[in-house]
């Protein structure tokens, strides 16, 4: 069992938890993920590691409540335990040798972008962060991220905080203004990553994306997380989750990620009606 040591709401829908998992904390690197299961009846769900405290032996996970599992996870409080917490999985983000990087985070994707930005910042790279949100009330991690970059650009779709526009708008501006990045690292909704790649491509800036296909085991066994990279089949859990953005078939990924939408919607209703989120109590 893996204890939730602390729990902090970042906005109305996004929450940060620190989970006691010393073995994972010891090994975790930016870009890697864990698989957790809330209880015996839960799914195995991947979450990217948002940070870790090696001394305390805790691993940070940031989740947004979107479906049954995250609703279930959200019913757990400090002191409660997760049934399973395995990792760190996947390959760490390759940051060696990068000196000037634009890190783009979209929505809750900022939680995943943060450890990458931090790792880059820690190795002395110059980092620009572009963080995009729909609106002011869901902005997360602003303070933390400001502390790990040279320039922090906050974008909102409705202009209620930071600048009005998408992350692509800002990246376009910066590139047009002559900013020279060794690499753009984009993490967020698949559709955002697709357009970040389209924005960076004319400027020939290498662009790395972190993919989030549906997974089950997460250890290179089930083949569910296959993605097309340059037309070749790759598995995000062992070959990724980071891939060269220019090579990714984003439309295929968007389609594949929608496969269980209907059942998940049904699942949400199911849990609410039955036990209000606490089952087998």
């Amino acid at each position: 069992m893996f204890k939730i040591c602390s729990k902090r709401r970042l906005n109305s829908n996004v929450t940060l938890i620190d989970v006691e998992a010393p073995a994972v904390a010891k090994k975790a690197k930016a870009g890697q993920f864990i698989i957790l299961r809330t209880d015996e009846y839960g799914e195995r769900v991947p979450f990217t590691i948002a940070g870790c405290d090696r001394e305390a032996g805790t691993v940070q996970v940031i989740y947004q409540v979107v479906g049954k599992t995250t609703m279930q996870l959200d019913t757990l409080e400090e002191g409660d335990c997760l049934a399973d917490f395995a990792g760190p999985l996947g390959k760490p983000t390759e940051i060696e040798g990068l000196n000037r990087v634009a890190v783009v985070g979209g929505g809750v994707g900022c939680a995943i972008a943060m450890p990458v930005a931090k790792a880059l910042h820690d190795q002395g790279a110059s980092v620009d962060i572009i963080a995009g949100f729909r609106s002011r009330d869901i902005v997360i991690l602003e303070e933390e991220m400001r502390g790990m970059c040279d320039n922090y650009y906050l974008m909102t779709d409705d202009g209620t905080a930071g600048e009005h526009g998408f992350t692509t708008t800002k990246l376009q501006q910066l590139l047009e203004a002559g900013e020279k990045y060794d690499c753009v690292i984009a993490i967020g909704p698949v559709i955002m990553m697709k357009f970040i790649v389209a924005t960076a491509k004319p400027f020939e800036v290498p662009t790395m994306v972190s993919l989030n296909p549906i997974m089950i085991d997460g250890t290179g066994m089930c083949g569910c997380c296959r993605v097309s990279i340059n037309g070749e089949m790759k598995f995000a859990c062992v070959d990724g989750p980071d891939f060269d953005g220019y090579s990714v078939d984003f439309d295929e990924l968007i389609r594949r990620n929608s496969y269980y939408k209907e059942q998940e919607e049904h699942g949400k209703e199911h849990i609410c009606n039955l036990t209000g989120g606490v089952r087998h109590a």
Partner: protein, 462 residues
């Protein structure tokens, strides 16, 4: 005078029409009377060749004689002395190509039903006996087992019996490897696997779940923690696909994914959260045991029509005869000498059919089986809304990628000596699908057993 009946005592089974809609075990098992009747068919040969057919060398005639005498617990002790997972093997071993293939009775009639008798004895033991009290003298040696599948469990059992301090590291949340994620409940109830694992715990074996060796800890770190010898039985890895158009469409699964959802994640039960595959018309590509498991699971998940699509003919099907027979009885259709060329998509990216080509058998290939050759111009389409690829697997890449000095072959399988299970890294032994690629439970167990022997020699234990 032995019982000279030419046929095995029939195995009671659930009615095919009923069982095709549930996940309860298909074969119900012999009663004591049936087992004793079947046991009297054994000639108790002076030179029992059946044993040569068993990768873990079960003393077959000895345990069968104990059944005749009604000494079922003694029969169990005989089996358990060389086989750590009798209740599993009695259910899933391909006896018809192993022990039963060698049985003298098989020359003129049906061989003795060794597998069914083994299962009877194991189940009798589970039902009737107390916890086994075995005195083990600790030998002070600490060993690690990577993976709790059939190879790892067997290796762990033998090393624990020899007195080693054994820890098994399992990546998943449940122990058993392919026995829990791959083989379906209706063929091998998970409660049985759990009992076998508990049996090893009784011997002092420790299990650490949610530990992915190669990620959470490396092989080198295990040595640093004081493990003297390590057995890697990390199992099969990434599934193979055909490389044809349409394999990323919605409704295309690897058999690993399909079976893992249903077996490990229990998607067939309403009280578990993992979404279940719900398809109407399912095509399963392949002809092995995994293909049969996937096809029969698809029926039970509510599909109206399930088809096996295999590029050779009935005779070359690699699946166990019994599994094929069961699949036919339950209503699985066999489309033989057919090979998919392309998976077809509807306007939303869902599978709506498959283009196939007819095949004919040519000259025998390297495997000795006649090679299937496409018949030019024979393409046709079949309708389906799901395609399950059951074509075998490659090795799991994680340990290979993270362990210095561990050689892999061109399929990324770990290179291990066939006799000793030794890898190219000192103190590291390997066996099962991680070495051979997709094979059977009993072969993995045989490798686990060999490895245990070698590890004891390596550590200087007599």
């Amino acid at each position: 005078m032995p019982n000279m009946s030419p046929t095995k005592v029939a195995m009671p089974e659930q009615d095919p029409k009923v069982r095709a809609k549930n996940f309860d075990e298909v074969a119900c098992g012999y009663t004591a009377e049936m087992a004793q009747e079947e046991a009297t068919r054994c000639l108790n040969c002076k030179k029992p060749v059946c044993i040569d057919g068993c990768p873990v060398l079960v003393h077959i005639p000895d345990f069968i004689q104990k059944i005749v005498e009604g000494e079922f617990e003694q029969a169990y002790e005989i089996i358990a002395s060389t086989n750590s997972l009798p209740a599993v093997c009695g259910r899933v071993c391909p006896q018809e190509t192993q022990c039963e293939a060698k049985c003298i009775r098989g020359l003129r009639s049906e061989p003795v039903a060794i597998g069914r008798l083994e299962r009877f004895v194991a189940d009798w033991h589970i039902e009737h006996s107390e916890k086994r009290e075995i005195e083990i003298i600790p030998n002070g040696h600490k060993v690690a087992i990577v993976g709790s599948g059939p190879a790892g469990l067997t290796c762990a059992g033998d090393l624990a019996m020899a007195g080693c301090d054994v820890t098994v590291f399992e990546a998943f949340h449940e122990c058993g490897g392919v026995l829990v994620y791959g083989i379906p409940e209706f063929r091998l109830p998970k409660a049985i696997v759990k009992r076998e694992v508990e049996g090893l715990e009784d011997l002092g074996v420790k299990f650490r779940k949610d530990v992915v060796i190669g990620r959470t800890m490396t092989i080198d770190e295990l040595f640093e923690e004081g493990y003297e010898a390590i057995f890697v039985g990390s199992g099969a890895g990434l599934p193979m696909f055909m490389g044809i158009e349409g394999e990323s469409l919605l409704g295309v699964y690897s058999a690993n994914e399909y079976l893992t959802r249903i077996n490990l994640m229990k998607a067939f039960r309403d009280d578990y959260d993992t979404p279940a595959p719900r398809n109407r018309c399912v095509a399963v590509i392949g002809g092995g045991n995994v293909a049969m498991d996937a096809a029969r699971s698809a029926l039970r998940m509510g599909a109206d029509k399930v088809m096996i699509v295999y590029r050779r003919s009935m005779e070359e099907l690699p699946a166990r005869a019994e599994e094929v027979q069961h699949a036919i009885e339950e209503g699985v259709e066999f489309n033989l000498l057919r090979n998919p060329v392309k998976i077809l998509s509807d306007e939303n990216g869902y599978v709506c059919g498959m283009e196939c080509i007819k095949m004919e058998l040519g000259e025998p290939d390297a495997s000795g089986r006649r090679r299937p050759v496409p018949i030019e111009g024979s393409e046709f389409t079949m309708e389906c809304d799901a395609v399950i690829m059951a074509l075998g697997t490659r090795a799991n890449p994680i340990i290979g990628q993270t362990t210095e000095g561990l050689d892999l072959n061109k399929w990324n399988c770990i290179v291990a000596d066939e006799e000793t299970a030794a890898t190219t890294r000192e103190g590291v032994y390997a066996g099962g699908d991680a070495v051979t690629g997709a094979a059977t439970v009993i072969l993995a167990m045989g490798a686990g057993k060999q490895a245990a022997d070698s590890m004891l020699k390596y550590m200087g234990v007599e």
